[in-house]
């Protein structure tokens, strides 16, 4: 690949995927600084192995896998998951018209999920990946991913049941 062409392609990829990757990183680590570091590191590694894209890899799952591995490496160091205050997360909500209480409820609910459950669910919600794709990314069986995502939704549904009911009723 010509260097300039690769550079241009890389720039397009950064602009197309950095926001989703940042949100995924944020909800994994729940720390703005860590999330940005993860995204930076993700793209640094992506560039180092950019030739792998020539082998027909899909960009989006590839990037999410790199970021997920970087996050896993944080734990391996070991570095405990940071417990950012829910208020901090709430302060980050740009749109003030959005119900703050819902945000806090969701934050609390996601916090209660173990990483093993939160990760595949976030890949589905943020990345839009199917269970089959997530299985490849996490090196798990598809059935295992389906079980994890189902359990995650079941827990969240229980925690957010009043809000679900309220919103369904107001429709």
């Amino acid at each position: 690949m010509w260097p300039n062409r690769a550079k241009l392609q890389f720039e397009l990829i950064v602009r197309a995927h950095s926001a989703d990757l940042y949100r995924f990183a944020y909800w994994l680590a729940r720390d703005r600084g860590v999330a940005e570091d993860l995204v930076q590191e993700c793209f640094t590694r992506a560039w180092k192995h950019f030739d792998q894209l020539q082998e027909g890899k899909a960009v989006k799952p590839w990037l999410f896998t790199i970021l997920r591995n970087e996050h896993a490496r944080l734990y391996a160091k070991p570095r405990l998951e940071r417990n950012a205050a829910p208020l901090e997360a709430a302060e980050e909500v740009a749109d003030t018209s959005f119900c703050m209480q819902t945000h806090l409820d969701v934050d609390r609910a996601l916090r209660q999920l173990a990483v093993g459950y939160r990760e595949p669910l976030l890949l589905q919600l943020v990345g839009g990946f199917s269970c089959a794709e997530i299985a490849v990314m996490l090196s798990l069986s598809e059935a295992n991913v389906m079980t994890r995502v189902s359990r995650a939704r079941r827990v969240l549904r229980k925690l957010l049941e009043p809000e679900i009911t309220r919103q369904v009723m107001t429709q």
């Binding site: 949100r23 997360a89 939704r153 919103q167």
Partner: protein, 230 residues
């Protein structure tokens, strides 16, 4: 497909339902309600997830870092080249500094150590042979009586300083590691010096007058093989 299977699929992968599951939910009110609540749950989850503001300038910072890391290869290369140039300059300094002046250096060195002329050492043949061997030369004849042999800091490292009494007069012989390329001569009125290349360094003769030094040079060339240490 029954409702239980649908619910399992809906809960695990609601956006990638199979054709069978889609047909089932179209005909089942209970599963439609279940699917609606699942979508509502995801909607509630997605609201705060998608509203997390991406830091301003994130893309630019990523691209800048990427650019810097690309440039750092050039910077590293430039730094390495700079170090090599400095190293080459430093290593070549002795040559630049002494190549044309080794005779003068020898002359200055001898004048700095006048005591060596008064020394009356007994220098063994072994030490003498070793001293000549230090510049890759071989002593095979009589060059006179050596009254002093010392080690001195000289261009290129440690060298040997000899004082010799000969029928042609007393002279100093400086054997130094720095390599002269051609024969050089230097005079200061009272003394004269000649520096000539040896196999692995330089030998310099310092004597009192030019006519004598030429003869001493001839004497040394006849009795020392300067270019072969075999």
């Amino acid at each position: 497909m029954n409702c239980l299977e649908f619910c399992r699929q809906q809960q695990a992968d609601p956006y990638h339902l199979s054709q069978v599951a889609r047909q089932h939910v179209a005909d089942c009110d209970a599963c439609q309600a279940f699917a609606a609540r699942t979508h509502k749950l995801d909607e509630i989850l997605m609201q705060p997830i998608n509203r997390v503001p991406v830091p301003a300038g994130l893309n630019e910072r990523i691209l800048l870092r990427h650019q810097l890391s690309r440039n750092s290869y050039w910077l590293r290369g430039a730094f390495a080249a700079g170090v090599l140039i400095c190293l080459a300059t430093v290593l070549s300094l002795p040559w630049l500094r002494y190549d044309g002046n080794l005779a003068r250096v020898a002359l200055a060195h001898v004048k700095e150590e006048p005591d060596t002329f008064r020394a009356q050492q007994t220098v063994s043949d072994t030490l003498l042979v070793a001293a000549f061997a230090s510049v890759g030369a071989q002593l095979h004849g009589n060059i006179g009586h050596v009254t002093y042999l010392g080690t001195c800091p000289l261009p290129g490292g440690e060298g040997k300083h000899l004082v010799v009494s000969s029928p042609l007069g007393r002279y100093s012989l400086i054997l130094m590691p720095a390599q002269a390329k051609v024969r050089k001569m230097s005079e200061d009125g009272a003394h004269a010096a000649i520096a000539k290349p040896a196999a692995h360094g330089t030998y310099a003769i310092v004597a009192s007058a030019t006519p004598d030094i030429i003869k001493i040079e001839k004497l040394l060339d006849q009795n020392v093989n300067w270019t072969n240490n075999q």
